[in-house]
Symmetry: C2
């Protein structure tokens, strides 16, 4: 069951940006506005809508009235004309709904370096506004997809002394998912009453514990955005339900992160890496990332092959100072590496375990007390096929 | 034509370490010894022969009489027994040829974490010694291979005032090739007269300009070794031909590096990345590495797809401070990105250019005067197939 927050309307349409003719324009409206917080890609090549979105949040002091997302074209590496295009979309939408342009939040995803056909978007705006409804979140979630195979939605309800609030999130992911939010769009809507500043703190912490702990292929993108909007329409102030809201936000983000990895391009296996006994969470993340981004490890996972030597070799070149002779590696309840060396295990049982759609690999480092869970996946021939043929 | 240095004998045999039954044990003998220099992997998980090889060079003050290399088993992550095994091989060989164990240099390559069957090696030693000959370098080059499809040899002759010296190298590469010498074995033999210290300086510089500027899949391994042996049998002292020798060594290393990339697992296209106008060679290398290790870039190359946006995005997340609006990208004589944005180009001509077995992509950064050439390759479905099925 999806818990929908009050104060938001959604709609979507096919504006002709995707060659497939599928829906590619998503619209969300907060008729009375919403407090906003956002996190963006750290890639120095930032797409035009990322630049404009950042500007608008600053200029509008974190108040947003509408979100407009197109898929099929990233509006990135499009120079000054691309920036102008992103602004034109916001201006056209702002004038339709009678707000200021800085109260519009734009996003784009898709191919890099191709001019965004702005008229296809602006001509579709009146209809998007006319048909927007509180129930059309799935249509929004569908129109933001690119190579994804399914929509990604997660929600939570928060109850406190008879008062209820809700938070719902939708995401777009597939390939290029990596810490620092590679080619990932996430929109989170809630009806708690909160200031932009409070939302920003909560969002940063939730993103660090969810979207920054996943990796599909190690590429980080130019358009990543996580946006959190709070309409206040539940009438419940954040401070009254701070702990519950924090947990609900994290649950929604973690569920979306898990759905993104599971829908990674060509993914057959989702692997939860549990790194234990690290000196710090940062060191655990660095080790998890190196394992998760090793093509040799990821292809072994594709073959359900308990080749723990490749995992050990990845740990050894992660840049974290380790003690090889203290490392243990577990595949479910079987220990496959003991003190940095081979440990006798049942290979057919291991192969069977790794044939599951999702499973856990646990590494203990013997260095300290920090631990981390990191979601990754295998690298399949299907991934290569999808990405070899994407733009041409 | 292969130029063979004087003072070395080679042989090889099938000792039964490879399941395929192919030759897997390679032997090189310097009957009167040779000055030695070596560079090893920086992976903290170093294989037993790497640890022993390092020890022997130190203990023997850089004098080596024989090299013994096995393929099919990396003798890595094999704990204390693995270390003992590597030493046992050296002791057995030392006693056969009447030298000290520290005058033997061991290497291993293959699967990690499986005990090395030491008897299979020791029993083969007398025959290897008996049949060793100056002409059997190709047999040596063949026995060190794993997933490679062909042997890799390069040589140069140096002439100075009627005196001649030669340098020849053989290599093993295929997958896991990356700066810092991932799963790569290289043996260089020369007959100049040189001290271990002088050889070490020359070797470090040549490796930096060759093997550290290539990447197949970004993984760095536990067994990488580059060994340079100088027999002095030409009678030509290094100092008399220092410049020529330096150039010949670099040429041999670059040729082997190129052969390694071209024979990378599943490789269909070798791509020479030319990074220009960087602030420093290190920054150029960091950018080249990020491009070369991006699965999205490498799969686009597999599809001969001029998707320059993925290259630009890789540059943007390389960690080097860049100015996106100054970046130009060229595919042969076509400019495909101009000042960080799309530049009109002939897509079918670009596709044709990228369908070649090897070609160049040039990036100008507009930041400084340093430049670098870096060899990489595409990521194909074939790579995934090979590596998903290697150990099981």
């Amino acid at each position: 069951m999806i818990h929908l927050p009050q104060g938001f309307l959604f709609s979507a349409c096919a504006a002709g940006l995707k060659v497939s003719g599928k829906p590619d324009l998503a619209f969300a409206l907060a008729p009375d506005g919403a407090s906003a917080a956002a996190m963006f890609t750290r890639n120095q090549v930032a797409a035009a809508p990322v630049i404009v979105g950042r500007e608008h949040l600053r200029a509008g002091k974190g108040r947003i009235h509408a979100v407009i997302v197109n898929a099929g074209n990233a509006n990135c590496a499009t120079g000054a004309p691309g920036l102008k295009t992103a602004k034109t979309v916001c201006q056209a939408l702002a004038s339709e709904i009678h707000v200021r342009p800085e109260q519009i939040f734009p996003s784009s995803t898709g191919i890099i370096g191709v001019p965004l056909p702005v008229e296809k978007i602006t001509v579709a705006l009146p209809d998007l506004i006319a048909v927007a409804s509180p129930d059309a979140l799935a249509a929004f979630a569908s129109a933001i997809l690119t190579t994804d195979t399914r929509i990604k939605i997660a929600s939570e309800e928060i109850e406190h002394r008879g008062q209820k609030a809700a938070i719902v999130g939708v995401a777009k992911g597939a390939g290029m998912i990596h810490p620092n939010m590679a080619t990932m769009l996430v929109y989170l809507f809630t009806d708690v009453a909160a200031s932009p500043g409070d939302l920003q703190k909560l969002l940063r912490s939730a993103v660090d514990q969810s979207f920054n702990n996943i990796s599909v292929d190690g590429d980080t993108s130019t358009n990543d955005t996580v946006l959190l909007l709070a309409s206040s329409k539940s009438g419940v102030p954040l401070k009254r339900i701070h702990t519950q809201f924090e947990r609900a936000l994290l649950n929604v983000c973690r569920s979306l992160a898990q759905q993104i990895v599971a829908d990674g391009e060509g993914v057959k296996h989702v692997v939860r890496l549990r790194i234990e006994q690290a000196r710090s969470e940062d060191e655990a993340r660095q080790i998890a990332c190196t394992i998760a981004n090793s093509p040799l490890v990821k292809t072994a996972w594709a073959g359900a092959d308990p080749n723990w030597g490749r995992i050990l070799a990845a740990i050894g070149r992660s840049g974290v100072k380790i003690k090889p002779e203290k490392i243990n590696i577990y595949l479910g309840d079987q220990q496959i590496c003991r003190k940095g060396a081979a440990n006798k295990f049942n290979a057919s049982k291991a192969h069977e375990y790794m044939s599951q759609a999702s499973y856990e690999i646990r590494v203990t480092l013997g260095l300290g007390k920090a631990s981390l869970e990191f979601l990754s996946c295998d690298l399949t021939a299907e991934y290569v096929r999808i990405n070899a043929d994407y733009s041409t």
